[in-house]
Symmetry: C2
Subunit: 228 residues, 2 copies
């Protein structure tokens, strides 16, 4: 069998859109670059793919070394191929997105390296490379995904109130959803389970706490919400 050489190929980068939900705002983690190109500018965290590395392994390496994160929800987003996307030469970017509960990982403001920072998705700075395009693709994917996959499982605490879940959906989708209809749909779908406990110490009525139904696989429910 003829073998081929592995020279003169485009480089492959793996870039990550890390979503976190915190204080009723959906945010993404960005990295402040300390070298050219785009020195001192913001970009998505990423790295070149090693010769024998899988995409997921590269994602884990990036998350671990740059942010100290591990075991996140990861999904491949798209591969970007614009020949001009990197001024240093030909680089293919395979983009993934990750979901994280910032509280569970102690990566709220101040606890990370100071070149990594959360930005609300609606207040992003200018991004280097073609990362704006990658980012927009990730947001669209998340909006679609949340309608048929319990994304909240990754973004919220183990137990949460109906209002918290409701706010998450309104935030991600950017629309108002009727509180009572949302409740019924979510419960009818078997999407979450009432733990029987309540959150205490609040000024008003103590809300019931729920957990995600882990028996429910992908595509097991469908949230019919009119978008636009």
């Amino acid at each position: 069998m003829k073998t081929f050489n592995s020279y003169k190929n485009p480089a492959i980068a793996v870039d990550l859109v890390v979503f976190g939900y915190h204080d009723k705002v959906l945010s993404a983690l960005l990295l402040n670059r300390n070298e050219e190109p785009f020195k001192d500018g913001w970009t998505l965290p990423g790295s070149f793919l090693q010769m024998e590395e899988t995409f997921r392994a590269a994602c884990s390496r990036i998350l671990q070394t740059k942010m100290g994160l591990s075991d996140l929800f990861l999904e491949q987003l798209y591969s970007f191929d614009d020949p001009a996307r990197d001024p240093r030469g030909r680089v293919i970017s395979v983009a993934y997105y990750a979901l994280i509960n910032p509280h569970a990982f102690n990566v709220v403001a101040g606890k990370m390296a100071n070149d990594v920072k959360w930005f609300p998705v609606n207040k992003l700075p200018r991004l280097g490379f073609d990362h704006k395009v990658i980012f927009k693709t990730a947001v669209e994917r998340l909006k679609a995904k949340i309608l048929y996959y319990p994304v909240g499982f990754e973004l919220l605490n183990d137990t949460f109130t109906m209002t918290e879940l409701h706010e998450l959906y309104e935030c991600v989708l950017g629309i108002d959803i009727d509180r009572r209809n949302f409740r019924r749909k979510i419960l009818d779908a078997g999407y979450i389970i009432n733990t029987g406990t309540k959150r205490a110490g609040l000024k008003n009525r103590h809300p019931e706490l729920y957990t995600f139904n882990k028996k429910l696989g992908e595509n097991q429910f469908q949230l019919h919400i009119q978008i636009e």
Copy 2:
């Protein structure tokens, strides 16, 4: 700015799943390999990505040189990264799928190079590399896509009968769909337009001919069909 060398990178292949609909059967184009590995076996058509080539350009090159096809519907599917997927070394595969009306391109049986052949998607031979996985991913994507995008536009002739469109949907989705409900949904969605002409020369009643409504963009309609 520091530049990087482009040596010692994984190779990048672009692989294609070409779907065609013919004689009420959904088929895919496969290539009979004339070199190792998998010599004399069947694989998806594909090629290595050139240094300055976009994915779509590579797709066009593959379709043109191996099958004489051009200007097809193309969509990126997924990127595959199993380090063992190619016995010759590390190769990333960026998969696309294409849709084609075999009649419009004269690529029905016998008119193509004899190392290229249509296979019904339910009667595929053993495939080399990880192409079985790529293929299954493509079929799933097509099934999802047909519910919110007028895929038939690419697979059928310019004008077609309601029955032909109906059969296409039943074939792709692999389920029975009520003829009358299907008709109403499709028409209500503004998905197709009645041309006012009829197909003559048939034994039975002459069916009306339709065209796709080209003004209708993506996500403009949603076919609510219960899939298992």
